[in-house]
Amino acid sequence: MYRHIYGFIVMILAAAMLAACGSRDKEPAETALKAAEAAVNTAKAEVSKYLPDQAAALDAGLAAAREKFNKGDYKGALSDAQALSAKANELASAVAAKKAELSKAWEEVSTGMPKVMEAIKSRVDILSQSKKLPAGITAEKFAEAKAGLEEMTKQWTEATAASTGGNLSDALAKATAVKKKAAEVLTALNMPVPEALKS
């Protein structure tokens, strides 16, 4: 009889100890989860903009940590949340590095491209005054070059607008299209293609 009572008491004590341990882990897990949420929310907008492939991993990590917490796996949630905070901070640093890289690339292209476009415009203006086109440039080719100049001028305006709006990734994507078009037009006009337009 006493053995049964003793066994029952031991079971109750064990359950109480487990519950105590569980609730002891809950608070730090909750705190870590909140910190991770804050870190993710802070980093997410810029990560989505500059490192879009990493943004989904942040969301998935947060969802996994929350799920563990809701299921009572506080240790797992704590561990995941801490790792997620570290990841969010790491991505924030990566975003800063990416922004610096994009700014440098934009600075180069925004200084160089207007000169290329000016050279093309100058040649198109002169050839428009010519009574006869030079050897190697047919009327058709010249018409294409003029249309290309118009197109790249429009694209360049869009690129600079994207840059002014703070979207450097978009600005550089548009600038790449302008570079490609400029290389085509220069070739059509028998003009040298600068190195920066060849890559």
């Binding site: 180069e108 292209v109 200084t111 160089g112 491209m113 207007p114 000169k115 290329v116 050279a119 093309i120 100058s122 040649r123 002169i126 050839l127 005054q129 010519s130 009574k131 006869k132 086109l133 030079p134 050897a135 440039i137 220069l186 028998n190 003009m191 040298p192 293609v193 600068p194 190195e195 920066a196 337009l197």
Partner: protein, 79 residues
């Protein structure tokens, strides 16, 4: 002492080539004058019309004083 600039120097200097935007974006076309060439002939070659020689002359006023006098080996900008 500052380096004296050679008044007979022709063609692009390193600074002119690299200027703002860097040499990587330099789309300047250069022509090296050959024996028997005139600005008229060069304009005809690049523009198809010798009458447009003044465009080349204007773009090279730093090295050309007279459109009728160009020297073999001179490097001219073709605008």
């Amino acid at each position: 002492m500052a380096e004296k600039k050679d008044p007979w120097a022709i063609g692009p200097t390193t600074d002119e080539k690299q200027g703002e935007g860097g040499a990587a974006f330099d789309a300047t076309q250069w022509h090296e004058v050959k024996k028997g060439e005139t600005l008229w002939k060069i304009a005809e070659q690049y523009y198809g019309d010798g009458n447009l020689y003044s465009k080349i002359f204007d773009a090279n006023r730093d090295v050309l004083k007279d459109p009728n006098r160009i020297n073999v080996g001179q490097k001219l900008r073709i605008p």
